[in-house]
Every structure is written in structure tokens, then in C-alpha cells.
């Protein structure tokens, strides 16, 4: 083994080894020459004499090198050629094994590609990305809600000026802007950055330059813009002449000064952004908005010698002075790397990372089943070859050499599987990301199969080969030569308890996968048929895009007042009901997360609760009934009242009537509960989160219009109404059912993948059972013959032959059910409220497996009872 490691080391450091050797031989020659010179021979003559004396240097080097590599390679090649000959002789077996391995290794490599290339990789296109950290504030809220978010701009300034452990700190903020003029203006994602952004992160800019400190002076912001690489290509044809020209952003001309590097466009802050603008430019972009105070995303570069831990400690101290918008102080900071997965909250139980790990775990299980299965097949083959192996042992082959040969066979199999698997991995990430990406539109990725992925696939092949090849190799070569040669085909079953074990493993893992898939499918079924608890089908949400730069609060208020009047003025049967809300229901947790606590609690005990600002008619539009108290009054605009849902009532006032009680937002802002509404699935597909509505204050934010109408939404009519108030305003309508369908469709991918994996495992396990049973019968044909001749009943014979392995199947089933319980608890969050112990899923899997077992044992059992004693006894 050490030998092998040294050889591998040689291969890795080959150049170094050869240099050493050459130098050593050259030294030898020089010494010989010196000695000859001492004997009084002239330098030239000595040189040639020394060379002659030493023979051919190149030959010496070749020979020395050959010690390391050649004999080894040669024997390896022999083994591989022998293995291939052997495998070619059984094309069916080979094809099945290679296909199984290719599928599993391909799928798993794909997943690892995605996770490693996307989720765990720090920002690409950033110099020395491992020294860049992201900073988040821990919210004031207590409990384990663990709210973490960006920093107020003032806090960022403190960090940038005072943090000594950071070599530089930058801030960014995403902003939606309109690029272009008039009708050709397009809504575009821009990233506002501080003047040091390009410099501190070391982002490549070509052509042109990045945004510099001079472009970002408070009060004197230079209207300059840097284009994202893809945007430069799609909108400016990749023309370098674009530098120095103007682009209109929110009707303000900005000078294009550069194009950011292509690599950086898949870094998270830049992902999907088309423009980079100076942070201070916001005063020109949105002249009527109050200046930015909260919040910006902060990243920094570690100062030389500083560690992440030092940054955290220093910023923790600094953060005591920070003031959040609600007047409270943060509990501290979180300092992480810049990878997608390191952002707080990303690794929660429903995030894309969790989904990817669940699929990955499923694939690993299938892989294990496949390895166990192939292991059993190889044992059967090894048993059939016991005679051959015995002969080779008796002819003097060393056991080690034979084991190596059998392992090589496994490795050849695994490697062929891997090769096909890599081909799969090459295409699949894009397909897979498409599924996963449904959950997170902002999935910054640029995936390629690179060296690391190839290495991983090879590693999987190696581990597979060792897993399914080692045990059979050891077993097959353990045999006592004399016994083997005298024996008939095969070995007594008792010598291979391993087969039963491998069978049990297959069954157990299949059960785990099948139960998980079953539960997921039942969950999805439930999600598809679920009752949201409010009107979905007839409701449509309308969002507004106001012309930038011209709408201040008063104008917004006027616009929505006009709109309300116009809608009220419609004929009585034109629409059934309408209202406004900051967010329409989209079945995922979206909305403001507000820290609230009760008057007798301290602010530190606050919990983060979802809240939505709504107009009084909103509950009526969604048909959510009030179960206690009352709805908002028509004139409650901005009053400190709230309507809470039943879950929130239960959480904050268990066994009490919450109507008339108050709770506090932030430090002192209080709300009186005026009513309790029934729980509705506006914000989730499974458990209803605590939620409260408060009256919408028209003017500040741009709300969505929510309309309920039996005959669909009169969108033309709506467009006309809006155009009459202000022709520059654009609207977009989305039926709530579209949101719901999207969520349901999303929730089906997991179960489908699970079902495919489970079916795969079941098929493998069935084939595995069949193989083991069939082999058991064949092995004991003679014994069966004798028993039949002595008058044994067929049923007794079947029991006898199948009993041992049926026990293994049963043990696997039981173990699998236990494993399934564990996995279903892990999957709970994806079950849409289905109990993890759903009897239907468990029972159907048990039935399915029993059926598979029966099917697998039917043919072997029939073969057993049809054994003709006469033939069997002549078997010799």
C-alpha cells in the first residue's frame, strides 16, 4: 500500500524526481572526472573518460525511472485487459452495471457541480475572493428568529471609516430604474455602489474604468454608469465605442465610463443587474424620495493579517452605536464569506440548498443500493469463478495479485460508468438548475464541468469499485485451494452471509427512498388540492409602474384617490370588489417582517411577524372572514390598529380574547387589535404563519390593486381608467391563481424526482433479490433433488431454499422503515402539513416491496419445485 502511495507521489512530482535524478547523475560524473584528473589525466580526456566510465547517462536515467512506473503500469494494463476480456464475455451483466453506475454517478456529479460551482463558491470576478467578507446586522428581535439584514447607511459609514480589521468596506443597494426615454424606456435592475466598490473588490473593468471615489461625492455626484458585461453585449452590441456616450436613466443622462468583467456578472450582488451607478446618484434618480438611510449590503476586504473573527469582534463593538430605522440597536453582526450559501438564512430547511442536499442524499442512497447490488452480482460471478481462481492460486498466483485483478475488474466497470456519467453531468446541470431555480429566481450561476468535477466523478468511481469489488475479491480468493478444486460449482451459501447483508441493505435503502417519495407525492397531492382559505380564482392583482422622478408622496396619494374614485364610478356589476395592499397573496412568506412584543415584555423579547398594509376592503376582496371583533373602518387610514390572524392570536394571547389588546412595534409604536380574521394560506402552502394587517397609509409606498370579479378582470377597462389619470403609468395584471399554480408546479418537482429515485432503487432491489434467490436455488439443486426423491413437499422445498434470504429481506424492510421515519421527519417542512407518519405512504411501500419480493422469488421458486431428482443427482 505504501508502495502504491510512493508511486502515486512519484507520478505527481514526476518532474521534480527527474530533475533530482539528472542532477545526481551529473554530480556522479563530475566526481568521477575530478578523480580522474587527480590521477593526472588532462581535463578533456578526463571528461570523456568519466563519461565512458559511467556508461550511457540517458540509459541510466531511463532505467532509474523505469523502476518507478513501468512494471507497475504494465501489470496494471495486464489486469485491465484481462478484466475487459472477462467483461466482454458477459455483455448483459456489463451493460446493466455500467448503465446503473453511469446514471447514479452522472446525477450525483451533476448535483455536486451545481452545489460546488454555485452555492459554495465565493463571488467570481473578485480579486482574492477568499479575503472578502460580507457583513450583516443581527436584528434587535429576540428568540431564534435570528433576523439578519443590511446596515443603515450611517452604520456603513462608521464601518468604512473606523474598522481597522477591514482593508476597505463597500456598500451596495439594488434599485429598479428606467433606462431609455419615452415609450422605449425599460425597467432595469441597477446596483448602486459606493465609490470604492470596484477598487476594493478588485473587479476587472474593460473597456473603460470603474466608478471611482470622485463619482460618489455626497452632493456632487457625477452622473456616470458602468455597464454589466451581458447588458453591454445585448444592448450595445459589445461596442467599445459606447464609452463616453450617454444613457438616460430615470430621464437623467448618465455617461457610460466602463464595462464590468464578465466573471463578475455571476457574483451575487451583480447577478441580474445591468447597470452600476454611484450610490449618491440616487438623489438625481429619485429626487422626490427621502435620501437613503436604510439599508445597504456591506462587504469588505480583510486587512492584511486580519481574520474574520477579528472583524466580527471589532464590528460587534462598533455596532453598539448603530441605530436601526425603528430606533433600536442591533444585537451584533454576522461576518461571513461571500458564497451564496453563507448568507444568513440561506441554509434553512426549505431553501434551495436544503432541496439540493435532499436530492443529493437520495442519490447517494440509490448509489449505495447500486453498489450493494453490483457487489452481489460480483459475488455470484466470483463464486462461479471459484474453480478458476483455485487453479490460479494453485499455480502460484499470489492472493494479492488476484485480489488486485478482481478489483481492477470492478474499477474498469466503475470507470466506464463514470465516463458516461460525466457526459450526463455535462448537460444536466442546466436542466436541474431549471427545476431548482424555480424556488429562487435569483440563483447566480455559471456552471461548467471542470477539473474538480472530473476528479469527483473519478473519486466516486474509485469508491464504488472499492465498495462493490473489495468484498467479493476477498471472499473469492479466501478459498482453500484443495477444497475448491474438489468441489462442484459454487460454494455453500453459508460461506457468504455477506450476500444476505447486501440484500438487506438494498431493501432497507429502497424502503427509505420509496417512503420519502411516497410522502412527498402525497404532500404534493395535498398541495394541489389544498384549500387556501380565501378567494383565489376570481382575484387578480395589479401592480403599477409610476414614471420615475415625478411622483412625490402627495402626487401618489392623489393618483390612488383618483383611481379609487374611478373604480367606484364603474357600473355596479363591472367588478365585485377591490382593495389595496402592499403585497398580494403569493403563497410564500413575503411582506414586512416586523419585530413585535407585548406591553409587559421587553423589546429584546420581540418576535418577527409578517405584516401587510391593506385598505379596509382588502379582507372583503379576499373573502377572509372576521371571527372576532371587527374589520378596519373606512377611515382608519394610518390609525394604530391591527387585524390579526388566528395563529397570531393563539401565539400572543392563548386562551384570551385578543380584541382590545395592544402590542408594540419596535420600541414604542403601539397597535390595538380590533379584530381577528380566520387563518388563510396567503403566505404559505403549509403551516399558516402568524400575521397581522394594518391600515394602508396611501402615498408613501406604491401598493398593488387587488380586484375580485366573477367574469375575469376587465384589464382593457382598467388600462383606460389608468391612462385617463396619467398616461405614463404602466400596469401589470397577475391573477392570484397564476401564483398558486406556480407554487404547486414547484412543489411537484421534488416528489417527481423522489419517485424516479425510489423507482430506480426498487427496480435495483428487485433485480438484486431475484439474483440472490435464483443463485440459492441453483446452488442447492442437488440437495433439492435428494429431498424431493425422499418425498419432500414442494412447499417445504421452497421454504427451505428461500427462507434464509427472505429473512434478510424482512430485516431490510424493518430497518428501512426505521430509516424512513428519520428521513420523513427531515422532510417534514416539504410535506404541506401531511403527517410524516402518513399510513398510506408506509403501507403502500410495504405492499409494493412485498409484491416485488414475490415477483423476484416466483421464478426461482418454480425452478426449485420443478427440479427433477434424477437429473439433479446426475448433476455431478
Amino acid at each position: 500500500m505504501r508502495d502504491l502511495l510512493r508511486r502515486v507521489w512519484y507520478v505527481i512530482r514526476q518532474r521534480q524526481f527527474e530533475r533530482d535524478l539528472a542532477e545526481e547523475i551529473e554530480f556522479h560524473r563530475a566526481m568521477a572526472q575530478r578523480d580522474l584528473e587527480r590521477c593526472g589525466i588532462g581535463a578533456d580526456a578526463a571528461d570523456s573518460a568519466a563519461r565512458r566510465l559511467l556508461g550511457n547517462t540517458t540509459l541510466a536515467r531511463e532505467d532509474s525511472r523505469g523502476v518507478w512506473i513501468w512494471p507497475w503500469l504494465e501489470s496494471l494494463w495486464q489486469d485491465a485487459a484481462y478484466a475487459m476480456r472477462n467483461l466482454r464475455r458477459q455483455p448483459g451483466f456489463t451493460a446493466v452495471v455500467v448503465l446503473v453506475l453511469a446514471t447514479v454517478i452522472g446525477l450525483h456529479t451533476t448535483l455536486v457541480t451545481v452545489i460546488a460551482g454555485v452555492v459554495l463558491r465565493p463571488w467570481p470576478g473578485v480579486q482574492d475572493a477568499h479575503r472578502v467578507v460580507a457583513v450583516y446586522l443581527l436584528g434587535p428581535a429576540g428568540g431564534n428568529a435570528g433576523f439578519a439584514g443590511g446596515l443603515p447607511l450611517s452604520a456603513y459609514r462608521t464601518v468604512a471609516e473606523r474598522a481597522k480589521s477591514l482593508g476597505g468596506a463597500v456598500a451596495t443597494r439594488a434599485e429598479e430604474v428606467l433606462v431609455g426615454t419615452g415609450d422605449s424606456a425599460r425597467s432595469t435592475e441597477a446596483l448602486l455602489v459606493t465609490g470604492n466598490f470596484f477598487d476594493v473588490l478588485g473587479i476587472g473593468v474593460a473597456p473603460g474604468r470603474g466608478i471611482g471615489p470622485d463619482d460618489d461625492r455626497p452632493g456632487g455626484a457625477q452622473p456616470v454608469a458602468v455597464l454589466a458585461y451581458d447588458y453591454w453585449h445585448s444592448h450595445f452590441g459589445g461596442d467599445p465605442g459606447v464609452i463616453g456616450t450617454n444613457v438616460r436613466v430615470n430621464e437623467v443622462p448618465f455617461t457610460i465610463v466602463g464595462v464590468a468583467s464578465r466573471d463578475f456578472s455571476s457574483a451575487e450582488p451583480a447577478y441580474g443587474k445591468q447597470l452600476f451607478l454611484p450610490m449618491t446618484a440616487v438623489s438625481q434618480l429619485k429626487p422626490h424620495d427621502p435620501p437613503i438611510t436604510c439599508c445597504v449590503d456591506v462587504a469588505g476586504r480583510l486587512a492584511t493579517g486580519a481574520t474574520r473573527e477579528q472583524v466580527r469582534a471589532e464590528l460587534d463593538l462598533l455596532s453598539r452605536e448603530f441605530v436601526l430605522p425603528d430606533g433600536m440597536s442591533p444585537r451584533g453582526v454576522i461576518v461571513t464569506g461571500t458564497a451564496f450559501a453563507s448568507r444568513p438564512g440561506r441554509s434553512d430547511s426549505v431553501g434551495p440548498l436544503a432541496a439540493a442536499s435532499a436530492i443529493s442524499a437520495g442519490l447517494l442512497l440509490v448509489w449505495l443500493v447500486a453498489c450493494a447490488n453490483i457487489g452481489n452480482l460480483l459475488i455470484a460471478r466470483a463464486a462461479a469463478r471459484v474453480k478458476e481462481i483455485g487453479i490460479r492460486l494453485s499455480l502460484g498466483a499470489s492472493r494479492r495479485r488476484l485480489i488486485r485483478q478482481l478489483l481492477t475488474e470492478g474499477f474498469v466497470l466503475a470507470l466506464s460508468g463514470s465516463a458516461i456519467g460525466i457526459a450526463i453531468a455535462y448537460q444536466l446541470p442546466f436542466v436541474l438548475l431549471h427545476f431548482l431555480g424555480g424556488a429562487t429566481a435569483a440563483f447566480p450561476f455559471r456552471v461548467t464541468v471542470d477539473g474538480a468535477v472530473l476528479g469527483y466523478a473519478l473519486l466516486l468511481a474509485g469508491v464504488s469499485a472499492a465498495m462493490f469489488g473489495l468484498a467479493p475479491a476477498l471472499f473469492a480468493t479466501r478459498t482453500d485451494v484443495a477444497a475448491t478444486l474438489s468441489e462442484r460449482e459454487g460454494l455453500p451459501a453459508s460461506k457468504f452471509p455477506l450476500r444476505g447483508l447486501l440484500l438487506a441493505v438494498q431493501v432497507a435503502l429502497s424502503v427509505v427512498l420509496l417512503v420519502s417519495a411516497g410522502l412527498l407525492m402525497r404532500g404534493a397531492q395535498r398541495a394541489g388540492a389544498f384549500d387556501p382559505g380565501f378567494a383565489v380564482n376570481d382575484v387578480t392583482a395589479v401592480s403599477f409602474e409610476l414614471p420615475p422622478g415625478t411622483y412625490d408622496d402627495a402626487r401618489k396619494r392623489a393618483f390612488f384617490a383618483d383611481l379609487t374614485d374611478a373604480l367606484r364610478g364603474l357600473p355596479a356589476n363591472a367588478i365585485d370588489a377591490f382593495g389595496f395592499a402592499t403585497w398580494e397573496p403569493i403563497f410564500i412568506r413575503r411582506g414586512y417582517q416586523t419585530p413585535i412584543h407585548l406591553p409587559d415584555q421587553t423589546p429584546a423579547q420581540a418576535k418577527m411577524i409578517t405584516s401587510v398594509d391593506v385598505s379596509p376592503d382588502y379582507l372583503h376582496v379576499l373573502r377572509i372572514p372576521i371571527v372576532a371583533g371587527r374589520n378596519f373602518e373606512a377611515s382608519s387610514d394610518g390609525r394604530p390598529v391591527a387585524v390579526i390572524n388566528e395563529t397570531m392570536a393563539r401565539q400572543f394571547w392563548p386562551n384570551e380574547n385578543p380584541v382590545g389588546k395592544t402590542f408594540l412595534i419596535g420600541r414604542a409604536d403601539s397597535r390595538e387589535v380590533v379584530g381577528v380574521m380566520r387563518d388563510a394560506h396567503t403566505h404559505s402552502m403549509d403551516r399558516v404563519p402568524p400575521l397581522f394587517y394594518q391600515p394602508l397609509r396611501l402615498g408613501r409606498v406604491v401598493p398593488r390593486l387587488v380586484i375580485r370579479n366573477r367574469h375575469g378582470v376587465p384589464s382593457m377597462e382598467l388600462k383606460r381608467i389608468v391612462a385617463r389619470i396619467d398616461p405614463r403609468v404602466r400596469i401589470q395584471t397577475t391573477p392570484l391563481s397564476a401564483h398558486l399554480e406556480a407554487r404547486v408546479a414547484e412543489s411537484k418537482w421534488g416528489p417527481m424526482l423522489g419517485a424516479v429515485l425510489g423507482g430506480f432503487a426498487l427496480a435495483l432491489a428487485t433485480v438484486g433479490m431475484f439474483g440472490v434467490f435464483a443463485y440459492a436455488v441453483r446452488q442447492r439443486t442437488r440437495e433439492i433433488g435428494i429431498r424431493m426423491a425422499l418425498g419432500a413437499q414442494p412447499s417445504a422445498v421452497v421454504r427451505l431454499v428461500l427462507a434464509g434470504h427472505s429473512r434478510a429481506v424482512a430485516a431490510g424492510l424493518v430497518a428501512g422503515l426505521f430509516g424512513a421515519v428519520v428521513s420523513s421527519v427531515v422532510l417534514r417542512s416539504r410535506l404541506h402539513g401531511l403527517s410524516p407518519f402518513d399510513p398510506v405512504a408506509y403501507l403502500s411501500v410495504a405492499v409494493l416491496l412485498a409484491a416485488a419480493g414475490l415477483a423476484a422469488s416466483y421464478v426461482p421458486a418454480r425452478r426449485a419445485v420443478r427440479v427433477d431428482p434424477v437429473v439433479a443427482l446426475r448433476y455431478e
Binding site: R2, D3, R6, R7, Y10, D20, L21, E23, E24, I25, F27, H28, R29, A30, M31, A32, R34, A49, R52, L53, L54, G55, N56, T57, L59, A60, R61, D63, S64, R65, G66, V67, W68
Partner: protein, 114 residues
């Protein structure tokens, strides 16, 4: 090969390795050239090893882990690789010595039948 040089007469396979191990057994680190010189002088000029057999043999010993090489300065201040025996090498030396003795006795018996 060379007329002036008499090479090591056909040694039994493995004998050169045994001799190298023995020379290194003194404990001092010795470079390749030093080993060749030592062989020559101890055997009174009978065993003259060319590099084409010395260095492959040394590589084999390195591969087996019986000797270790370390770079250092030679007596004339050139960089040279100095070899020392490892613990495994010392054990191997003992084994091979026994084997060799047995072989010699056997050969002797064949050549001088009683």
C-alpha cells in the same frame, strides 16, 4: 562496454541492493558516487558499479522505502543526494543477508558435492 572498465561480474539479482544496504548500514549519509567508490575500495577494485545499474538500484530502494535520500552539500561543495538507511531498510538488510548466506551455502554445495 568500456575496455578499461571491468563491470561488476553478473551479480545474482538483488545482490547490488544488498551491497548498497550494507554500505549504508554504517549509519553515515553517503551519496551515490560515494557508494560506488566505497564498493570499489572495499571489494579491492573487483566490484565497479556503473551508474546505469547503481541509480536504478537506488531508485528501487527508495521505492521500497528502505533508504531515504536527502539533499546536502558534498565535500567539494556541490549539491548531492545523500542516502541513509531507514528502519525498514535495516530489517531488510538482516533478512537479505540470511537469504544470501543460505544461497551461497547452497551454491557451494552444488559446486562441491560431498
Amino acid at each position: 562496454m568500456g575496455e578499461a572498465v571491468s563491470y561488476v561480474p553478473d551479480l545474482l539479482p538483488g545482490t547490488l541492493e544488498l551491497l548498497i544496504l550494507k554500505i549504508l548500514a554504517s549509519g553515515d549519509p553517503i551519496h551515490g558516487y560515494g557508494i560506488a567508490q566505497r564498493l570499489k575500495s572495499v571489494s579491492e577494485e573487483v566490484l565497479q558499479v556503473g551508474e546505469s545499474s547503481l541509480y536504478p538500484a537506488l531508485q528501487r530502494l527508495l521505492l521500497k522505502g528502505w533508504v531515504k535520500g536527502a539533499w546536502g552539500a558534498s565535500e567539494n561543495n556541490r549539491r548531492a543526494r545523500f542516502y541513509t538507511l531507514t528502519a525498514a531498510g535495516r530489517k531488510q538488510l538482516a533478512i537479505e543477508r540470511r537469504e544470501f548466506d543460505r544461497l551461497i551455502v547452497a551454491i557451494h554445495k552444488v559446486l562441491n558435492p560431498a
